[in-house]
């Protein structure tokens, strides 16, 4: 990891409050903006418990769950991205680009069409299992060292193959199309609240595990020998990091389908402000990740107003230029 100078040790006292403020603003915006806009006055009325019945239904049944889902997905993907970048030592690591989201979605696709696993728990568990398999593969590949782009290419290859399988399934069994449609592009349009509820404990477990990894990962950043000297066991740390990433990405994919580029953009966006320390990077990801996903999801609702596009389309449009810039910045 080679963060560009700047933040190390230098205090940026306004960074954290500013980020939190942005998060609050986009969260409120996400609640208000949509095909049926809600005015701030209506929101205040609704919070006071009185207001138009339709508006109340809209806010509590549609907008609030969607905003919560975006928050959860943003936190999970940003933290997972930071973990993967640190553990694979590849600045271009991202759960979506490395195919972890696709692996997750693939397991769900197969689970739904071949084994009839449509329950919320079934979806969440298959998603996490798929993410785990892919994370382990990615990590094994990454540890072999060499060119960082190979990881990405492997991820792209895998994602394309998964897309191909999905299109074959849907061509051969058109009825499967409906169940799988939400899984193709990454969408928060109608998050399944049962899935969100089931996924939350897994996301929480992933976050706790990530919090426990802060010190060992910092030690590992000093190099394997130094880390061993400091009493860290590199293999154990990497395994734990893979487990945390799998829980986070699997949970997020269960809720929203595969979303690329969030895990790539957020850690790079925050590092100039936080410096390389894992604790501060992860803490910043907790705020900036959800802000980005909320912003993307709100843009997804505005781009074709009153219709909307999948949020994955927006994150790709925002993230692809970042990838170009990062790959131009030589290592």
């Amino acid at each position: 990891m080679t963060p560009r100078g700047g933040g190390l040790g230098r205090a940026r006292p306004l960074g954290a409050p500013a980020a939190v403020l942005v998060l609050v603003v986009v969260a409120v915006g996400s609640v208000l903006i949509g095909s049926r806009p809600v005015s701030p006055a209506e929101l205040l009325d609704a919070l006071g418990g009185h207001g138009d019945g339709d508006v109340l239904t809209l806010l509590w049944r549609v907008r609030a769950p969607r905003t919560l889902a975006a928050l959860a997905v943003g936190v999970a993907l940003a933290v997972a991205g930071a973990l993967m970048q640190t553990t694979t030592r590849n600045p271009l690591a991202d759960p979506g680009l490395l195919g972890v989201g696709a692996g997750s979605a693939f397991f769900v696709t197969v689970g739904m069409s071949a084994f009839g696993l449509h329950s919320a728990l079934g979806v969440a568990l298959t998603a996490i299992a798929g993410a785990a398999v892919m994370t382990i593969l990615v990590l094994l590949l990454g540890l072999r060292g060499g060119d960082g782009s190979r990881l990405i290419l492997a991820g792209i290859a895998f994602s394309t193959a998964v897309l191909g399988v999905r299109s074959m399934i849907t061509l051969l069994d058109p009825r499967a199309l409906d169940a799988l449609r939400a899984w193709s592009a990454g969408s928060l349009a109608a998050p399944d609240q049962a899935v969100l509820a089931v996924a939350t404990p897994f996301l929480g477990a992933g976050l706790l595990l990530a919090a426990g990894l802060v010190r060992p990962l910092d030690a590992l950043g000093l190099g394997e020998d130094l880390a061993r000297g400091l009493g860290t066991r590199p293999t154990l740390v990497r395994a734990a990091s893979a487990a945390a990433s799998a829980l986070l990405v699997g949970g997020a994919t269960a809720v929203a389908g595969p979303l690329a580029f969030v895990g790539l953009m957020v850690p790079h966006a925050v590092r100039p402000f936080t410096g390389p320390g894992t604790a501060r990077v992860l803490a910043a990801c907790l705020v900036v990740g959800p802000a980005l996903v909320l912003l993307a999801d709100t843009l997804a609702r505005v781009a074709l107003w009153p219709g909307e596009i999948p949020v994955g389309v927006v994150t790709a449009a925002l993230g692809a230029p970042v990838l170009i810039v990062l790959s131009r910045r030589g290592r």
Binding site: S149, A154, A161, G164, L172, L304
Partner: protein, 329 residues
């Protein structure tokens, strides 16, 4: 490539693989909803069969098979050129976003041109693919074609265009979106002489253009300094070769839609199968066999459902690439 040359380089390998081509051709002409015996196929080709059999073989099956073989050869040759120039065994026109850009072109044409016909869509896909290739090349002009930046930039541009494409699909009415997605699947279904003839003629012309510059590829592979020392205009040769590769891919994509991974896999498979002296010819031969077999399988494996051959190649090819990357040291 003289005969003596070929002898010393394992003529039998070339011969064996070349012999597979007529087998694929004949099998594709014989097998289908109306199974035909070898004599019937032969009679149809020589014009002594019933009009119906002749129609099935000559008007329906023959253009599709010939197109599959020719398109496969074009993609295989283009892949061999790309991989040699980028010095990256993973470089291929589809990996750097050519197909995605061609799809963007088709969607834009469907949106802007009322009642866009086949020729319009083919032109649009051509322009879209070329513009994307140009964009990726310009973005990596400083670091050059070799190395990871070229491929990562291609992936990024491809991701960006994919999201533009999705947005365009959502924006159009369902009927237009359906037309677009049929193209996007990559298929040779319903290909008749009307579309096959111009495509085959264009590919033949491009092959004639590529052949004389093909040897330059081997000199370029020695490195820019050596190539310059040998008197080769390096930049111009490279541009010429890229133009040939892009042209070969563009014609195929314009007619059939994106057929992924043939360009990537054919040169790979050619390396252990054929002597290494003629990478472009080898890639073309393996590509022809690959796409010929893949198209036949896509049409008949899940009958009566006609699978677009693009869906088959993307699945097998994506899996193959992922596996290669995992296993490679």
């Amino acid at each position: 490539m003289t005969v003596r040359h070929l002898m010393t380089q394992g003529l039998w390998r070339w011969g064996a693989l070349t012999a597979v081509v007529p087998v694929v051709l004949f099998a594709s002409l014989a097998v289908g909803d109306l199974p035909l015996g070898p004599t019937e196929v032969w009679d149809a080709l020589t014009g002594s069969a019933t009009p119906f059999t002749t129609a099935v073989v000559v008007d329906w099956r023959l253009p599709r098979v010939l197109a599959a073989l020719a398109f496969g050869a074009a993609l295989g040759a283009a892949g061999a050129i790309f991989q040699s120039l980028t010095r990256n065994p993973l470089g291929s026109p589809d990996v750097i976003g050519f197909d995605t850009g061609a799809y963007t072109g088709v969607l834009l044409a469907l949106l802007t041109v009322p009642a866009a016909g086949f020729a319009t869509l083919a032109t649009a896909s051509l322009l879209g693919g070329l513009a994307t290739a140009a964009l990726v090349t310009v973005l990596t002009a400083r670091s050059g074609l070799t190395g990871r930046r070229f491929i990562v930039t291609g992936i990024a541009v491809s991701a960006l265009l994919t999201s533009v494409n999705t947005w365009l699909v959502y924006k159009t009415d369902p009927a237009t979106a359906a037309t677009g997605s049929i193209w996007a699947a990559g298929t040779l279904d319903n290909l008749r002489w009307k579309q096959a003839t111009p495509a085959l003629l264009t590919l033949a012309a491009l092959a004639a253009l590529t052949y004389p510059v093909a040897t330059r590829l081997r000199i370029l592979a020695l490195g820019d300094d050596v190539a310059t020392g040998l008197g080769l205009p390096v930049t111009r040769s490279r541009a010429l070769l890229i133009a040939c590769a892009v042209g070969l891919t563009a014609v195929t994509t314009a007619i059939a839609g994106p057929i992924a991974f043939i360009a990537l896999a054919a040169p790979h498979l050619a390396r252990p199968l054929l002597p290494r002296g003629h990478p472009i010819t080898a890639g073309a031969l393996v590509g022809a066999v690959l796409l010929g077999v893949a198209d036949w399988a896509a049409a008949h494996l899940f009958a009566p459902t006609q699978l677009p051959v693009g869906a088959l190649t993307v699945t097998l090819g994506g899996g193959y690439l992922a596996l290669t990357l995992v296993l490679r040291r």
